[in-house]
Amino acid sequence: MGTLSVRGITKKYGSLTAIDHLDFDVHDGEFFVILGPSGAGKTTTLKSVAGLVDMEEGSVAVNGIDLTMVEPYHRNIAMAFESYALYPNKTVRQNLASPLKSGRTGHYSADEIEQRILTVTKTLGIDQLLDRFPREVSNGQRQRTALGRVLIRPADIYLLDEPLSHLDAKLRATMRAELKAIAQNSNTTTIYVTHDYQEALALADRIAVLRHGKFVQIGTPVEIWREPIDSFVAKSLGQPEINLIDAVVANGRITALAGAIDIPKPDGLSEGKVRLGLRPSELVPGVQVPGHVQIKGTVRISERLGRDIELEVSVGDGHLIVVTDSSKAVAERDDVVLSIDVPQIHVFAGGDPGQDTARLGSAQQISPVTKEVEQ
């Protein structure tokens, strides 16, 4: 158990700044997820907290004690590496026993060690592999061993670097649920790094979205999903990605897709170019809900992805991606009406394609903070 507070940590590799003045706090028992694309600086952030990289600037404190100059082995922090980093000359059992035998995580009798190994390996489903060497087990099993080497020991903070990335889809879902249960029961402070938004949404108490070594937004999963701070965060969550379409605000209305979308502008939105964000799962085909915005279009492509169906719908001079369940299937080349609730239409500042712009609010309400910035 531990409270982590990180201030202004900066790490450069040559001329490249991996992380740039990051500030964050993780509360006692919190499950904190860092979400970002590869190269964003996620692993460097974890290693800075663990004391494995020499930072240019910044401080790391646990439970109010400054650990910046403290050696990693005195920090009482455990980490699962994305590369597993299992000791190749030791069996799975010896790998798992390693943190318990160092004398710095507590003192354990041989029986206690064996008992802990059995408990953790049963949970992770690798109890039949104890006497094998890392080279003799699959990637998924190696990854679970690496995770086990963390979970087996007490620590102030667990750092997990993409700990489920090499498991197959079914096992990943099981392990995700298992991890959540472990985190809730043990009440251990955890920092979890991933590029998978579903893992982030499922596990996190709070999510920090990292981009180019800086946090773009930190918030609860609901906040991040409902009110992404900019189009980058909006695109980071959801597969397929959010539809971003150029729109014009004029004469009290927002129009886009050659007039296929034409809605009244919310108060506080100034005239000019904006971008609208519509999540594929919020666009409902074929059902006309009163009060929702209706968008007319033609289905161009319909792909069945198991339970869900992904539609590409031509609308005006562009297209929208829609995800729906198979009960609302629409044949290709058929006309369709998409409806979406007004608060679900995100409004972002206008910008060039590929450029990420700030979220101003929804089509119903411009957020007050942004309004101030805009004026």
Binding site: L52, E71, M79, P88, S98, P134
Partner: protein, 286 residues
């Protein structure tokens, strides 16, 4: 249509056969001097200058070289020389490993000011000709009484072996993923224990390879023992059978040569199994 090959089977082509034959020819050509030495070592003094392969083989030469008989005949104490050589070379390798392994680890893991020029400096011991330094070393050895002592020999031979150990092992340490040691640090082990527990066992093939190679280099060194000892070493002692103005015992020289090649050969066979082990055993994602 080419015939389908079974796994492990290779396609036979004319070019391939010709290439193999050429390699066999080269093999025979390059090993011929060694064969000649073996044959010569088995010949009697009367046959030693003949070039025929027909002779009555005898092990007499080996017995002569290794016993007092050779000593009275030629004045060469081969047995003591070979033992002393083993001692000197093993000592030099041991010193090189004790100092060279930590040096290689530091050089492979940490970048510090002047680390590159330091490594280059160590390497320069290898490519600078020994003749360049032999006179000053000779003078120094005479002054401080290291001339013709085992300590003196070990000291100069480790000039030959140390660069090899450091350079070979440095690349092993560099190839080893740093995250293995980082994991050990977070498991609660100090840097020293992480090195002993994780890094050292993994570079065992490298230690074996560099120890073998540096032993051979020290064993084959001629210049240092020639100038810096009287007690002799294997390389210098073998040449003494050629008489230096007196009678040349070619057959005894050959027998001594065969015996002199044995220690590195035995060493190579002993540590061969460590040489073939892979480095990371697939414990880290590739």
């Amino acid at each position: 249509m080419a015939k389908e090959l079974m796994p492990g089977q290779k396609r036979v082509t004319t070019g391939g056969i010709l290439g193999d034959l050429a390699l066999v020819g080269w093999f025979a050509f390059s090993l011929f001097p060694v064969l000649w030495m073996f044959l010569l070592a088995l010949k009697t003094p009367a046959e030693q200058t003949t070039t025929f392969f027909q002779f009555s083989p005898t092990l007499d030469n080996f017995i002569t070289v290794l016993t007092d008989r050779g000593r009275t005949l030629t004045g060469v104490d081969f047995k003591s020389a070979i033992l002393l050589s083993v001692l000197n070379c093993a000592g030099a390798v041991l010193v090189s490993l004790v100092i060279g392994i930590p040096a290689a680890y530091a050089a492979g893991r940490f970048k510090f000011k002047g680390s590159d020029s330091l490594m280059f400096n160590i390497l320069s011991f290898r490519f600078a000709p020994e003749l360049m330094v032999i006179i000053p070393v000779f003078v120094i050895f005479n002054r401080i009484g290291l001339f013709d002592t085992p300590v003196g020999m070990i000291w100069v031979l480790q000039l030959v072996t140390m660069p090899l150990v450091v350079w070979i092992l440095r690349s092993y340490f560099q190839d080893m993923p740093e995250e293995l040691e980082q994991a050990a640090l977070l498991d609660g082990y100090t840097r020293k224990r992480a090195f002993l527990m994780v890094a050292l066992p993994l570079v065992r093939p490298g230690i074996a390879a560099s120890a073998l190679l540096s032993f051979i280099f020290a064993w084959n060194n001629y210049m240092f023992p020639l100038i810096l000892t009287n007690a002799g070493s294997i390389t210098v002692t073998i040449t003494k059978f050629l008489g230096g103005g007196g009678q040349a015992y070619y057959n005894l020289t050959a027998a001594a040569g065969v015996l002199g090649a044995l220690p590195p050969f035995i060493l190579a066979l002993t540590i061969q199994r460590y040489l073939v082990q892979g480095l990371s055993f697939g414990a880290v994602k590739g």
